[in-house]
Symmetry: C2
């Protein structure tokens, strides 16, 4: 295969198909960013609620439930469950960073 | 603050509020997983298209556009643009893993 000898008509078709697929990727990325923004608004509320009532920031039982549920949803959606778990860990690491920022802005608990 | 002296009524309210917020997080996580599953279906098509036509798997100009666009969308949505960029890199790393798997299943190009 030699990309220099692809005829122009085929090249145009390939470019059009690539543009179509990339447009869908861009639409999904916009949806993902907006969903993530909303998700962090909610975890921010969880962080404030926990800090207000002296609840521990981490909840290993809840996290285990979330991982099991997301892996199962991923399998149904034909997404690699390993990736779904890595994705949750990636998002939760950011949540923890936010919660630590909330705690550091408060006076130490008495 | 001492979590042992929180009256029961308050504890019930806090638990109910926490359950409400967690339910919204779970709904968003389901939406995120399904969107990601669809996104990977499309990048899989992009990978096949590129491999079929001898196009290089990486496209730095396209990636720079995606990063700039996602950072801008994140700012509008009040999401940390740094996080949006990290998120895109995280997803793209998985896409590259998929594309490498597609290439490794094919006979070497002549």
């Amino acid at each position: 295969m030699n990309r220099a000898v692809v005829p122009d008509a085929t090249g145009d078709q390939v470019r059009a198909e690539l543009a179509r697929l990339r447009n869908s990727i861009d639409n999904m990325d916009a949806a993902l960013v907006h969903l993530l923004a909303e998700r962090f608004k909610i975890t921010q509320q969880v962080g404030v609620l926990k800090a207000d009532h002296g609840l521990p920031p981490a909840d290993p039982a809840r996290e285990a439930q979330q991982i099991a549920r997301l892996r199962s949803l991923a399998e149904e959606a034909r997404l690699d469950p390993e990736f779904a778990e890595k994705f949750l860990n990636f998002v939760v690491a950011e949540v923890v960073r936010h919660h630590q920022a909330v705690l550091s802005e408060r006076p130490p608990a008495g």
